[in-house]
Amino acid sequence: MGMKVLLVDDSAVMRKVLTRALRQAGLDIGDIVEAGDGLEALAVLDSEGGVDVVLSDWNMPNMNGVDFVAQARAKGYEMPIVMVTTESGDDRVSQATEAGANGFIHKPFTPDRLAEALGHFVPA
């Protein structure tokens, strides 16, 4: 039984790209569930249960990625959350970390970079 991953991104294309990259990363990935923004992601966490790792975009409608991370932590969710975003800079990384994010992957990324960042949380 592999790790259950929640992908949070308003781009259906990016969710497909991430799904493909995760399947090819050589990690022990099981179910992959999706959400189109932070609000949906919170609903998925509440309804699905058992999510082991979250990959979240930053810029999304309704609720952005950093607000989602803060809300998820406020609700007591402790699973690793890794930001996958075009945002960059030390201030952005600090902002995400302070909200409760555990990792930061900048787009564009290589499959190796994704595997490396997730390897801290997902066994091979």
Binding site: S11, V13, V17, T85, T86, G89, H106
Partner: protein, 162 residues
């Protein structure tokens, strides 16, 4: 070549470097160029994204043919069989614009100038583009897996207009 004095960033070089990075990392496609004097008559689809800051703003465009946009989408998603929904081809070009915008923004941010990117847009058909308040422009043409793609940026490296 135009120079962005406010950012001290070589914008033409930055655009070239960023486009290569995105195409090679995310699309895994071969890239040649920039090439001179291309036949751009068939370029009919464009992905666009805005860059906005107090010291730099502009509009990025990636323009290609319908066939090229399909090839880009297939490369990004892992094959033609992934293109099950017609909208996914345009969305892929929008995602390319988004990642290119992010890669350019990252390089401008390093100079100490803060820039935000907009949501991407996709245009199909004939259009002409005017960057309001833009003083500079750069266009690079590439062959991506042998198909022509134009990458352009109209921009202003001074304060944004009200």
């Amino acid at each position: 070549m135009p120079d962005a004095a406010a950012t001290n960033v070589d914008i033409p070089g930055t655009l070239d470097e960023a486009f290569r990075e995105v195409i090679e990392m995310m699309f895994g496609m071969g890239i040649e160029g920039p090439i001179e004097d291309p036949d751009a008559a068939e370029l009919s689809v464009a992905g666009m994204i805005g860059l906005a800051g107090t010291e730099f703003h502009g509009l990025l465009q990636i323009t290609c043919s319908a066939g090229s946009s399909r090839a880009l989408a297939a490369a990004l998603l892992g094959g033609e069989d992934m293109l099950d929904d017609p909208s996914i081809i345009g969305d892929s070009l929008g995602e390319l614009a988004n990642m290119l915008g992010g890669a350019v923004k990252q390089r401008i941010d390093v100079s100490g100038v803060r820039v935000e990117i907009s949501l991407p847009s996709v245009l199909e058909g004939e259009f002409s583009l005017t960057g309001v308040g833009a003083e500079e422009s750069v266009n690079h043409h590439y062959l991506v897996d042998g198909k022509l793609v134009r990458v352009g940026l109209v921009y202003n490296s001074g304060p944004a207009a009200d």
